[in-house]
């Protein structure tokens, strides 16, 4: 059985996380991706790791290997006229071009939708950029941390009201890149459906910054609706909703509804303090959190995290463990669902990777090939697909175009 997107032809001009993740989402359910990298160094994700044994190697970077499964890989210097010409020829035959070339670099190399659509009016071109293709910040520099900050998300996370000296805090990894990527995948698929219907393509401009602002939960609207700044230094409205330490790890203690709190008290053996008036509802528990915290810490630190999790869930209390990576890999639930997948790569070896974010009951999510080595499919793509002869390919290699 072929994947849901089998037959969809995508060219990716992607670096690091956003465009590569968008293309990976499509590749893993059947789309055919040709990924273009710079000759020589390739995608910057090749420098990021983690690396087996901690040894830096461009074919062994975990971030790259994860983000580029199921793709054909070619090298091409699109900033040179011969290189751009080959990009145009690839795009002439594609349904989608997805890229995260910075707007200032797009200007420099002449990468515009108008130019590519003149050869292929069906083309959907998705441009992912930190701030979008227009507006005063179009060319502002950005990294994952600065985007997470500019969106407002950093400001609402940190050490809490007892620790105003601790700075706003980003979440681990490259979350801005991932969110830019998945929002771009959504917008791109919208444009693809319109392309199938109308036979015409279009330009899709995705702003990573806006993708983050769009998911601020209730925290953004506090300003327009109530003139309130949502802050990491403010008081929590409801308690307990806290990460707390057990004897062998951490657990997220979560009682939102009163019945959950009552069940939790029972689970603790109905201690005397729990009957105090100052803990009698979730708002009072928040107002008197200092006192409550001491009692809870005392009990929770004697528990085992996974054991408490299961006991709580058996009483319909929505606790969750603070999973370590080891916990994830040994989870009986994830094993039963077959979440982690083993991928063998000719240079990096065989490792387990995060698997399917979705399960279709009819069409597969599958790893058909590992991430490409740098330029692995140059002959296949430039030769077999574009029809360049061996001598011409050799010349492009020699002159550093591919």
């Amino acid at each position: 059985m072929a994947g849901a997107l089998s037959g969809l032809k995508v060219i990716e001009l992607g670096e690091m996380v956003s465009a590569p993740y968008a293309a990976k989402l499509m590749a893993d359910i059947g789309a055919e991706i040709v990924k273009i990298e710079r000759p020589g160094a390739g995608d910057r994700a090749r420098t990021r790791g983690p690396f087996p044994g901690g040894q830096t190697h461009p074919e062994k970077s975990g971030l790259y290997l994860y983000l580029n499964t199921n793709k054909l890989g070619v090298t091409l210097d699109v900033s040179r006229p011969e290189g751009f010409d080959l990009l145009e020829r690839l795009a002439a035959d594609a349904d989608v071009l997805i890229h995260n070339v910075a707007p200032s670099d797009m200007d420099r190399i002449g990468l515009t939708f108008e130019r590519l659509r003149s050869r292929n009016p069906r083309l959907v071109m998705t441009s992912i950029s930190p701030w979008g293709q227009n507006g005063p910040k179009r060319e502002w520099r950005a990294e994952d941390l600065t985007l997470w900050s500019a969106s407002g998300i950093c400001y609402i996370n940190g050490g809490g009201m007892e620790h105003p000296e601790m700075p706003p805090l980003k979440a681990f990894g490259h979350q801005a890149g991932f969110q830019g990527g998945v929002h771009a995948a959504v917008a791109t698929m919208g444009a693809v459906l319109a392309q199938v219907r109308d036979g015409e393509g279009e330009h899709v401009d995705v702003s990573i910054h806006e993708s983050l602002v769009s998911q601020m939960e209730l925290f953004f609207e506090f300003w327009p609706y109530m003139g309130m700044v949502a802050s990491r230094l403010g008081q929590r409205p409801i308690q307990p909703l806290e990460i707390m330490e057990c004897r062998d790890g951490y657990i997220f203690v979560c009682c939102v509804e009163e019945h959950q709190w009552r069940n939790f008290i029972e689970l603790m053996g109905s201690p005397e303090w729990a009957a105090e008036e100052i803990f009698s509802d979730r708002l009072k528990r928040a107002a008197n959190w200092d006192a409550l915290k001491v009692f809870l810490e005392d009990w929770i630190k004697q528990q085992s995290a996974l054991d408490l999790y299961k006991k709580a869930q058996a009483r319909r209390i929505p606790f969750a463990p603070v999973s370590t990576m080891g916990d994830l890999l040994s989870s009986e639930h994830l094993k039963k669902r077959g979440f982690f997948v083993e991928i063998a790569h000719p240079v990096a070896g065989t490792h387990q990777y995060p698997g399917a974010p979705l399960k279709y009951h009819r069409t597969p999510w599958e790893i058909r090939r590992p991430a490409p080595t740098l330029g692995q499919h140059n002959e296949e793509v430039f030769g077999a697909r574009l029809g360049l002869g061996a001598a011409r390919i050799e010349e492009l290699h020699r002159t550093g175009v591919i």
């Binding site: 805090l169 444009a191 999973s323 009986e332």
Partner: protein, 412 residues
């Protein structure tokens, strides 16, 4: 202007709270007719949460609900009353997609499981966006938004060095699952267009979130090591941090302190940074002249940058550094995001007149399309606002039948 990509596609939206509504918001942005099936007997949690104008609660007054349900319709049903389930089934028959984010088994108990619904509509696409997925030993566990970030592993990787694990600041796993769900539905619509086949999608919020942690998970599977929490720092790049500014102000009794994030990704960017903060010599200093040296001496480097940022406002620091070509951005509180001239010029904000809260500033669509350009088509619905309209115009009930169903309590 061309028709919107999903014009003519109808979504019977049984989701609630946040993950599901964020999923169907994306589809509404692309032009789908999203009909939320709600009930007054247990209103959506986000209708009960702040913010509310003037601090006055009300089912239609929450900024939280009004943000994530723009451009959708609302139908209210009470399944306990005769006729209500029949309406739900008839709605499914006229829909392309069914969405829900209940725990595994809940739709089946209502008789609205996929196996039943596909008999009504053979090419139906149905997605379940649950906390744990439809299979596996924990499939019936209770999942709440803020618990999914710790569960996913993200919390154990997030936090200051030497501190306990921390949250992401918001229930990140919810919108993440929602937007992945939207992608899954769109790809299923593509497959249906090509083959005529619908399908069922089992999506676990937990699994969706783990896909965002390859650096942590692969450090473990490749090297058997649990990565250490390291605040805002990066394993290879320095400076990569959040620095204090001199400005602060009070808002509703809480001090708003301003900070600025700064990254210099390579030697050239670091040199520009050094010049911009009036310390050109540090770019040549052997303690800081390579990425590896800057990483080794990161505390000293951060102290030098803090000395400069703490004399300025965050906005000034951001402007000076961006003018010099350095990645810098203030850690914007919501007020500053709301006033950002860039977002205004991009036309990102949505100002629609809502019958109960009037014109409020709402987040818009994070992409722009050149041909099928969408707009947010309406404010979030009042609870049950479109019940009569959907029953009579979409499902073909007569007004007399609607009156009878209402009298029987089925439309609560």
């Amino acid at each position: 202007m061309a028709k919107l990509p999903l014009q003519g596609v109808r979504i019977a939206d049984f989701t609630w709270v946040w993950a599901g509504p964020y999923c169907t918001l994306q589809l509404a942005h692309l032009g789908a007719d999203v009909i939320r099936i709600e009930t007054r007997t247990r209103p959506c949690v986000t209708r009960l949460l702040p913010p509310w104008p003037e601090g006055k609660p009300g089912l239609n007054r929450s900024g939280y609900f009004n943000q994530y349900n723009q451009g959708k319709r609302s139908l209210t049903l009470n399944y306990a009353k005769p006729g209500a389930l029949d309406i739900a089934r008839r709605l499914v028959e006229t829909s392309d997609v069914v969405t829900n984010n209940f725990a595994a088994g809940v739709m089946e108990k209502l008789g609205l499981g996929y196996e039943n619904l596909r008999k009504l509509k053979p090419d139906l696409i149905m997605i379940s966006l649950s906390g744990y997925g439809d299979t596996g030993p924990y499939r019936e566990y209770v999942a709440y938004g803020p618990a999914q970030v710790p569960l996913s592993g993200l919390s154990s990787l997030t936090g200051y060095k030497g501190w306990p694990p921390m949250q992401a600041g918001f229930s990140y796993a919810d919108p993440n699952a929602g937007v992945h769900g939207a992608f899954a539905i769109l790809a299923a619509l593509y497959h249906r267009k090509k083959t005529g086949e619908g399908q069922y999608i089992d999506m676990s919020q937990w699994e969706c979130a783990m896909g965002l942690l390859p650096e942590g998970i692969l450090e473990y599977t490749m090297n058997g090591r649990e990565p250490e929490r390291d605040g805002n720092r990066d394993p290879l790049i320095a400076p990569h941090g959040v620095f204090p500014s001199k400005d602060r102000f009070e808002n509703t009794g809480v001090m708003v302190d301003m900070w600025v994030s700064i990254v210099a990704a390579d030697d050239a960017e670091f040199e520009r940074l050094a010049v911009a903060i009036g310390r050109p010599e540090i770019a040549r200093d052997p303690r800081f002249n390579t990425a590896a040296a800057r990483k080794r001496n990161e505390d000293e480097l951060e102290a030098a940058i803090s000395a400069w940022t703490s004399q300025r406002s965050a906005a000034e620091a951001e402007q000076i550094l961006q003018a010099a070509g350095v990645a810098a951005a203030m850690c914007a509180p919501n007020k500053f995001v709301s006033e950002d001239p860039h977002l205004k010029e991009r036309g990102y904000w949505v100002y629609l007149d809502h019958p109960e809260v009037g014109v409020q500033q709402h987040c818009g669509i994070p992409w722009q399309m050149s041909r099928t350009e969408g707009k947010v088509r309406g404010p979030a619905p009042l609870i049950g606002q479109h019940t009569d309209e959907v029953l009579t115009q979409v499902l073909g009930y007569s007004e007399a039948e609607v009156a009878r169903l209402r009298a029987a309590g089925a439309l609560e």
